[in-house]
């Protein structure tokens, strides 16, 4: 697996750095089987642009936030809650949470 450092985030992170801040990254993706017109559109545009060999394009959401909660367990539970209640629509979407400090 290759992982490239995120671009351009250094500056922003520095500004908000604090000892008990957790950064969360939430990936919201459409459930398997749910039609994804945006993904499909990108895929067809790719063909027109001459990009070959690309398939299964899916578009989702990425939500990033900072949390003042130093207990990881609690932070995860809180964000899980947040996703179920608001950030994701579980009728059509799945979510995955990454915490990071």
């Amino acid at each position: 697996m290759i992982r490239q450092p995120r671009i351009n985030h250094g500056a922003k992170r520095l500004l908000t750095e604090s000892y008990n801040t957790v950064k969360a990254q939430i990936h919201i993706t459409l459930k398997t089987g749910v039609l994804d017109p945006q993904g499909k559109a990108i895929e067809s545009a790719l063909g027109d642009l001459g990009f070959d060999g690309i398939s299964n394009v899916r578009q989702g959401k990425l939500i990033e936030l900072d949390l003042t909660e130093s207990d990881y367990g609690k932070a995860r539970a809180l964000i899980d809650n947040l996703c179920t209640q608001l950030l994701a629509n579980t009728v059509i979407e799945d979510f995955a949470i990454e915490l990071d400090d």
Partner: protein
């Protein structure tokens, strides 16, 4: 930053030339600091000071008994009776839209909406006039897609119907598209608000989105041509937040229903600088601002950045101290950031404090009064006097098929269906007609709205083009049965430092002035956009006219659609077969040459008044003015709109058939009337000495010219409707927002 030395380079980077720099020091009595330099630079930019255009704009007629506010306020205001007024203005957002089409166009809509509700008016309609480059240029599609979804994205969210506009293509716009947005609002006379500060001691209030480092130097950007360094200017792009705009609109109107607000001004180009400056200078007062109170989005912003930021969705107002509590209640209900950032003084100076220092201290009146004003050198371009005559002409039906499906004449449904044009439930004439009509809420009155310009005429002859743009707007209003009242205008030109461009500008103003005077339709607001050129290649002069008319009773509103059989078509006005600078020559023969059709304003007035009175008498079933593409295109548009065919005959004439059908002679209308009204109408025309000609009758499912051809309406409609969606197919599926 306040202490950095002001070098000659720095001054030049701020767009001030040597004379202006000298002048600045004279006004100030000392060297400016960096914040002051920034303020001078934006206040004296072309965009804010109108230094190249001011002299000429003064020529435009601005008065009529129904004009309440002419140019000078945030938007113009006209009386429509019953204590009500219509407030409207058009503005360009050309450069930002080229750099980032979605956000550029969206923030253009946001800006013009604020100009209207700043006056106390509730926006009731938006329009947009768009010019793009060659459709075959790869970038064009991307720009069309982004601009249209940006305009829709913003207006739809705020909930203002976008009801009309225009959209044309020409290679001269390849590097400089035009995005002109117009907004129209409704207000009671006694609720009109102005931007004149008064009452020393009154408080200066900041309302709306937090200030970030957006678009710093946007105003100076709009005052310079594009060059290859366009990428370097990118970070100045602003992102619109229509949701906040909607809250701002509701909060402002709620507060304006009281008498708490003394003065109000939106923060547009040059943000806090020009809004505070203009409010104070209109009232001939001073103003003190404490930048530490300004709500900021990013930490560590300097005074320079705060003063020049062009963050969107912000308002500045002057409020009586005893009303701040009322204001606070309303603003917090709408969950808006709000801060008292200063006060009005009688010092005549603008004093800006930041972090315990004085960041700027400038004399207001001298700075405003001595803003540069130039009488730039201008020359009038030779205009072509003869129209080329191609050796062969295609069949009329072939030409009609080509014209009706050419980019400029193709149906713009693809655009307007992305705009919510029915929200507010008062849109009585939808896009697709000569002018949109909005019912004045709760009454039987209607407001007719249109935007018009024929840039190829302006390029051929600026004076005639200026005349024609105003006349066409007047005609479109007339064709729906409205009494034309006033116009707003957006003058899109190249670099004014080039004498030829300046000559076009001067000519356009001359033509517009004459037309406004004779048609009794004054200019009440507007905007000038210079420097629309890339590497020395300017756009066609494009004076977009936004026209507003009144329909006293919606019972006498007229549409273009022929939707019943047995009607008789009557042509009003003289036909000479003028093909110079016509769409026919350009689209069919690839020729862009010849003089534009002359506009006879007195005849224009006479023919239009007759048409309007026939409409008001209830004797007309459909009416359309004749413009791009000439007579046959106009008839085809009427047929297509109503789904009913027509049978025409070519009258006896010396004019060649293609010139008769596609010539663009001005001052003409096509009427469809019932059998019993034909005679009386012809008699009236005869007695008033107005040319009128019977053209044929409606019925069937074809457009046919006797003994010449027959085209199925379904085929023609298919061609008319599919050019745009086919053109956009490849980008249609690109997600541009969210």
């Amino acid at each position: 930053m306040a202490n950095s030395t002001i070098t000659a380079e720095l001054v030049a980077e701020h767009g001030l030339d040597d004379k202006e720099a000298e002048h600045m020091i004279e006004v100030l009595g000392r060297e400016p600091n960096i914040t002051e330099l920034g303020i001078f630079s934006v206040m004296w930019s072309e965009h804010c000071s109108y230094k190249s255009s001011k002299k000429w704009l003064r020529e435009l007629p601005t008065q009529a008994p129904w004009v309440i506010h002419g140019p000078g306020e945030n938007a113009g205001a006209i009386d429509i009776g019953d204590g009500q007024a219509i407030v409207f203005k058009i503005e360009s957002h050309n450069h930002p839209s080229f750099i980032e089409p979605y956000q550029g166009a969206a923030t253009g809509v946001g800006g013009i909406l604020r100009d209207v509700f700043t006056m106390g008016a509730r926006p009731i309609a938006n329009l947009n006039a768009l010019r793009f480059g060659n459709p075959e240029n790869n970038k064009t599609r991307h720009l069309v897609s982004g601009v249209v979804s940006g305009i829709g994205g913003y207006g739809n969210c705020v909930g203002i119907p976008t009801v009309g506009g225009e959209c044309g293509f020409h290679p001269c716009y390849d590097g400089n598209i035009l995005v002109n947005a117009m907004s129209v609002g409704l207000v009671e006379h006694d609720r009109i608000h102005c931007a004149r500060a008064s009452g020393p001691g009154n408080l200066v209030i900041y309302l709306g989105a937090k200030t970030g480092r957006d678009g710093i130097h946007g105003a100076t950007m709009a005052s310079a041509g594009f060059d290859d360094a366009v990428d370097a200017k990118r970070p100045t792009v602003q992102v619109g937040d229509p949701f906040t705009e909607k809250l701002l609109l509701e909060a402002c109107l709620e507060l304006m229903a009281t008498d708490a607000i003394v003065a109000i001004q939106d923060m547009g180009a040059a943000g806090l600088t020009s809004s505070s400056f203009e409010m104070a200078s209109r009232g001939d007062l001073g103003i003190e601002i404490d930048l530490d109170q300004v709500p900021l989005r990013e930490p560590g912003m300097s005074a320079y950045e705060i003063m020049l930021s062009e963050s969107q969705e912000r308002m500045l107002m002057v409020i009586r101290p005893d009303r701040v509590e009322d204001a606070r209640k309303i603003f917090s209900k709408w969950e808006l950031d709000f801060a008292v950032i200063g006060q009005v003084t009688n010092s005549g100076r603008m004093v800006i404090r930041h972090q315990n220092t004085i960041a700027a201290d400038l004399p207001i009146k001298p700075l405003a009064d001595s803003a540069p004003e130039y009488d730039r050198t201008w020359v009038r371009k030779e205009t072509s006097l003869s129209t080329p005559k191609p050796a062969t002409e295609p069949d009329i039906d072939t030409a009609l098929n080509l014209l009706i499906s050419c980019p400029d004449l193709s149906s713009k449904r693809w655009i307007w269906e992305q705009y919510d044009h029915t929200v507010m439930a008062d849109t009585v004439q939808l896009p697709g007609g000569d002018a949109a009509v909005i019912r004045v809420h709760g009454t039987a009155k209607g407001i007719a709205l249109t935007t018009d310009c024929t840039p190829r005429y302006c390029a051929a002859n600026a004076v005639e083009g200026g005349r024609q743009a105003v006349a066409e707007s007047w005609r479109n209003l007339t064709a729906v049965g409205a009494q034309p009242l006033a116009i707003t205008n957006c003058l899109n030109f190249g670099n004014p430092e080039r004498p030829e461009t300046m000559g076009q500008f001067v000519g356009t103003i001359e033509g517009m002035t004459e037309a406004c005077r004779i048609l009794n339709m004054p200019v009440v607001s507007g905007n000038v956009s210079f420097y629309n050129e890339t590497r020395g290649s300017p756009v066609h002069p494009t004076p977009t006219i936004g026209g507003v008319g009144l329909i006293e009773s919606l019972n006498s509103m007229q549409r273009i659609a022929i939707d019943e059989a047995g009607l008789h078509l009557i042509l009003i006005g003289s036909t000479y077969g003028h093909l110079g600078a016509s769409l026919y020559l350009r689209e069919i023969h690839g020729i862009e040459d010849g003089p534009p059709p002359p506009v006879n304003l007195n005849l224009e007035q006479k023919h239009g008044s007759l048409v309007r009175s026939l409409i008001h008498r209830g004797t007309v079933r459909a009416c359309h003015d004749i413009s791009d593409g000439g007579l046959l295109v106009a008839v085809a548009e009427m047929s297509l709109a109503g789904g009913t065919g027509v049978t025409l005959f070519l009258p006896e004439t010396d004019i060649a058939p293609h010139a008769f059908w596609f010539g663009e002679d001005q001052g003409r209308y096509v009427l469809a009337v019932e059998d019993k009204n034909v005679e009386p109408i012809l008699l009236t025309c005869c007695s008033e000495n107005i040319p009128a000609l019977q053209l044929g009758t409606s019925g069937g499912s074809h457009i046919s010219v006797e003994e010449s051809f027959q085209i199925s309406l379904a085929d023609l409609s298919y061609k008319h409707e599919t050019w745009f969606p086919d053109f956009m197919k490849n980008t249609d599926n690109r997600s541009v927002e969210d």
